[in-house]
Symmetry: D2
Subunit: 436 residues, 4 copies
Amino acid sequence: MTPFDHLPQVSFMGPDATEPFALRTYDKTRMVLGRTMEDWLRPAVAYWHSFVANGLDPFGAPTQQRPWFQGEPLPAALQKADAAFTFLERLGLPFFCFHDRDVAPEGATLRDSNAHLDHVLDRIEQHMERTGIRLLWGTANLFSHPRYMAGAATNPDPEVFAYAAGQVTHALEATKRLGGSNYVLWGGREGYDTLLNTDLAREDAQLGRFLNLVVEHKHRIGFTGTILIEPKPMEPTKHQYDRDVATVYGFLARHNLLGEVKVNIEANHATLAGHSFEHEIATAAALGLLGSVDMNRGDPQNGWDTDQFPTNAQDLSLAILEVVRAGGLGQGGFNFDAKIRRQSIDVEDLLHAHVGGIDTMARALLIAERITLDGALDAALERRYAGWDTQFGQAALSGAMSLPMLAEHAANGGPGPSAQSGRQEALENLVTRLSC
Amino acid sequence: MTPFDHLPQVSFMGPDATEPFALRTYDKTRMVLGRTMEDWLRPAVAYWHSFVANGLDPFGAPTQQRPWFQGEPLPAALQKADAAFTFLERLGLPFFCFHDRDVAPEGATLRDSNAHLDHVLDRIEQHMERTGIRLLWGTANLFSHPRYMAGAATNPDPEVFAYAAGQVTHALEATKRLGGSNYVLWGGREGYDTLLNTDLAREDAQLGRFLNLVVEHKHRIGFTGTILIEPKPMEPTKHQYDRDVATVYGFLARHNLLGEVKVNIEANHATLAGHSFEHEIATAAALGLLGSVDMNRGDPQNGWDTDQFPTNAQDLSLAILEVVRAGGLGQGGFNFDAKIRRQSIDVEDLLHAHVGGIDTMARALLIAERITLDGALDAALERRYAGWDTQFGQAALSGAMSLPMLAEHAANGGPGPSAQSGRQEALENLVTRLSC
Amino acid sequence: MTPFDHLPQVSFMGPDATEPFALRTYDKTRMVLGRTMEDWLRPAVAYWHSFVANGLDPFGAPTQQRPWFQGEPLPAALQKADAAFTFLERLGLPFFCFHDRDVAPEGATLRDSNAHLDHVLDRIEQHMERTGIRLLWGTANLFSHPRYMAGAATNPDPEVFAYAAGQVTHALEATKRLGGSNYVLWGGREGYDTLLNTDLAREDAQLGRFLNLVVEHKHRIGFTGTILIEPKPMEPTKHQYDRDVATVYGFLARHNLLGEVKVNIEANHATLAGHSFEHEIATAAALGLLGSVDMNRGDPQNGWDTDQFPTNAQDLSLAILEVVRAGGLGQGGFNFDAKIRRQSIDVEDLLHAHVGGIDTMARALLIAERITLDGALDAALERRYAGWDTQFGQAALSGAMSLPMLAEHAANGGPGPSAQSGRQEALENLVTRLSC
Amino acid sequence: MTPFDHLPQVSFMGPDATEPFALRTYDKTRMVLGRTMEDWLRPAVAYWHSFVANGLDPFGAPTQQRPWFQGEPLPAALQKADAAFTFLERLGLPFFCFHDRDVAPEGATLRDSNAHLDHVLDRIEQHMERTGIRLLWGTANLFSHPRYMAGAATNPDPEVFAYAAGQVTHALEATKRLGGSNYVLWGGREGYDTLLNTDLAREDAQLGRFLNLVVEHKHRIGFTGTILIEPKPMEPTKHQYDRDVATVYGFLARHNLLGEVKVNIEANHATLAGHSFEHEIATAAALGLLGSVDMNRGDPQNGWDTDQFPTNAQDLSLAILEVVRAGGLGQGGFNFDAKIRRQSIDVEDLLHAHVGGIDTMARALLIAERITLDGALDAALERRYAGWDTQFGQAALSGAMSLPMLAEHAANGGPGPSAQSGRQEALENLVTRLSC
């Protein structure tokens, strides 16, 4: 018996359905630009938000009750796993994601913790085989335990670095065992609270070494998934090193990891970093780093990670469009790194949230499809940069012309080039028209 | 006759002076950690804020009157240059900085503009020789003219790219001619207002090419100053490519410019990007990019570039400390990229602002000196990371130990490492004690 | 001849229209919840953004050319008025709004300025009669001229207060003459740049007096429109006194102006103040202050007033829903306080922007209609607070029960009340479903 | 035995002391502007941050160990009380503050909880008598328990309102019993997470009623302390009703509570609301609402309540100056609503933090004294508004002149008033000079 047993089976019921748990847009088999909706989105449920979180916040106690929040940790972890797969089956999405400590409790020693994880993963493996639900990515929680309070890889104590290595070794191997498509590193404590006790150069070297070790081990064990860094600018630290996509690019370049590591972009992390979600996706695509997506949204008036489910398809469509332009996420996917509000204490709320989220993503995908098929936006872009495809443009871009040669060209050009309208409002109207 | 003629000569008068224009701390010959205050700070006045700005803001007309705001542009430019050097002499700082268009008016054609610039620089050169005041850096204004509304190097039209090349060629050569120590590129319009009309990959390629052309030309003409990029996250654009130091690092790595280009860090740009000023300086130092500094401060409650003069030495001391730790700015310096408020309509206000600013910097430098000589902060840092200097730490960092070897080490370590206090409050108290 | 002559006539063409200037949703005669779309929205064009702005920003020169930006100011003002009405006719919206200085140039003296205004208003009056286009509100520009740099009503100099009184007297009378529905005061400089030179209590008394004088004069001349304060938290000042709706409420209460003055809420001002747009509208409705709306949107990543046109109907629908719940805006309306981007240099861009904006508003209104007719959201709200309609709830709310009586009630209630789910995700899904 | 037993006794040791726990500036008996430092500051320690918090954050487990975090709750609460007073004695500050639930555990029923509180307060009362340490204010925690997840007074369920009334009745009476100087209400959950499930007008009426009930009960029981509202804009809610001082003013006016209720201003809450700390204090003073202060600081780069100890006296001096100008806080005081960082796991860190904080406040007070005695800042302010003290100024302000009379005055004044410099930089320099 799990608290999710009585939940209805979610299914696609078409745009006119008004049942609260009906999917109105997400039809996983619907073809969109040559592949199915499911193939484009590869949606996943986050184990931590959906099965571990309890409504605790910095000013208040847990509000959400689940049977496995009580009792002996290891049996409770099995109970949680059973319930999780009941929920996943009801929802009908193809993937889930987890941290090692979401699934199984920390033990007295690292060996104990590893044994706990293996024990629960046996059960999860059975559920996966039974249901066909797959693992989008696994990860190790290197931020909750007090030992990591000053960072894991960037800890001033190399023993903590080693402990983190121990956890990642096991989590990476577990991810491989479950057939995970990716392995994620979010550096929640890889940053600082004050520069006064921090040596940036040392910590950068440590973080670079750690990631290289992970990549080496991936190859050693033959894991074929992608290693992903998840950028976030701050919180819980004052400053987190993997601030945003462009910062991660520089880090990877510095440590010879380009080509080995990509990014897992989270919408709310993007906005906390001062970027739009679509900016981060477009940047990752332009830099060859687009790996996977953590789907959620932040609150525009609050300065912390609110991790809400997406509800506005038009907003989201610009991000999905960038994914479509990039040809999709490959072995990545869209993981709902989103949680229900603290007041949403009924188990139905968890299902509402996911149904609304996946339907919003599906609508956004259809908008991206319409924009793509319409072609006018891409055509406008082509037209805008057409000068760069001329002989002169090519010469300027290739380096065939030096700075003084370009200067001479300009000096002979009279009063200079005339500007063209950026047409922002017309393009916005185009997107709006295709959004409805 | 200039409006600055009646201003008093600023000079160091000691800590007990109460005269409004007295320097109470900045004694340019005072030795600090082995070099003079002037050598550490190399302070500069910004031509644009001090001699070109007029109090205009997006909601109101100019408020500050100067004779050269009227009349024929070219003679007015000479009048402005004369006045500027009167002010610089009164103030007694060793450096100034300028954009090409601050100094001389845009002409009908690029050749005309170049001729205007040369004409006024003749006068400025005379003033420099007469007064001994030097050029910290020059730059080209590639953002004010409508032709640059969609960017200079990143413009969708290669003709604009060429025009920008023309301007930079001349400004770089002019900077060399005046003996400038650096040449700065601030990409005020190198960014976008909407992704809808923007091709990030194209614009990145263009910007990379442009900067390579500038570096090549620098070597071609034998300019020995440093090429500097000035990061800013936004404003006037929605998004600016050179967002912050870490972003610029990635850009330089991608375009093979590491070792050729450094950064000019502005305090208010740092805070707009979500960083502390000291973070950006420490990051640049750690990445080998520390070039020069634009000294100002933002308003903590306002979301745009307020460019105010610094007034709080304790705040500033953490940034200066990072410069001291880095061994100084080399041929860089501290340029006051700061402006008086729109209501500060008296010429005295301009002098007040600079006097307060330089004295604040000098106090911050003395705090940094005390922290350095005291040694306790550095010692605490050493102690905190001491484990990394052990044999095990070195093995972990060097890559001599693989991930599974580290895991084995950790698994044999029992319950794991015990955490040490981060001692943030104690370290803050230390800095505070040395600040008074 | 005006630059708008060649623009097409905008008209409602139905949801399937793809012509760039077609209205696809805004059918002004369509009935929505008992009144026409036009009656609900009462849309207006802002004279300043559409006919006065020129693309100037703090880092760059004007980019948008209009014939009336050159030549003698007074004839140019007439030319501008002619062109404005051509644009208004093409667009087909029923209202416009203006500042005195948008319409006619400042003269050498207050009398001259007044005469200029009257002269141009003669022409505008003719256009209004000819076209049937009406004035939603008038206002006086008390922020652009240098005399107002330290505020108008809150200026430290009472002569400036008097000058502002002179301008408002004339602008209020002009608004009455043109049959304006409202008169707005936006206190762009009523605030401070630094507390160091500011006496808050004095300035509050001045502002209270000024507004009382305006209200008295309104009654004296028999103006039946509503006096509106437009809140904004900052910009151009560091801090503006009329920060948000709740702050204005306190100000009005303190100066005995409740019942006499309402608010004109701007979307981008709401977000700069840290509120959602719908929060400000709902707050004004709850406090009896809802007067009119300035329609625009800000950029979520930029910290200044970007004044963009709305494009996302689902986002906007929550604000419109609050207006619908409040029974509409009465003699208020929705003024497009929005401007085209600096790169939008074609006159077509101005039309695109307004067409997109009004259609977005119309779609948002239809969503609000669907939510209202559906009834489930209101029903959920009723249900949530139903306890307050019981006898006990009424006793608690009315004050019939004292604090210790309530305490006794609670102490007898055992372990205390059980919480109900807030159902946020389910309600968000409901809104999302009705948005498509 | 408590973990604080080995801490040294803190005492004033003069400006040259370098001992880590020495007070270098705070000499409680030093006279400043006619009263002692202790009388001006009336500093207090917050029970919750210092004795209840454990380093838990949204991403990690507790890091700080105290014996009373384990074992039976009620004996542990007594142990905590003993330890708290040991710490308070070591520190030597005169006041503390508490929530009911900080001091004693929640019981199964309200009566049980009350009994727990009374039981522990017996012990605390003994400590207070023994040590002379006093209660600055008490309060009830109406935000941590799940029953309050949707608010206390503003809960949609009147039973929760009653439960809150029960808690406040007891906490108010307990505060009276202990001789508390004030009683504070912070409405941590009085706000909303989404407008979709919120009726603003209902909740405003509930909150107004609740506060009136509290004020009535205060008078009923003869409590002579001040009732204080503590503004905060958000967190944990998306929007909190008591946003800032100006918002609270409007609320009090609406519910006839002016004169009965004042505000407890927190520095970090001010900055989260988009205000400077000194703005909120100056506003409260101008509106007659200045009650007490929660002393801390936020992180300028992080968007949540970081509650750090103050370290920068120059920054703080502007806030303290406003308190001095207002004649002090009366029966209010400065409560350290500040916590040590999660990594500060040694008990010494708690003492460092308070010692640094109180010394920073003392230095800020001395700066405010110097500014006051110097007189130049106040004189500049007088001079700036001098026009308002003329006959004309008085006539304008008193309402003796109508709007058209003022207009006539202005029209006869020629080109209008000439502006005076705001002198911001000169005034900033003045403050800076007096800060060192």
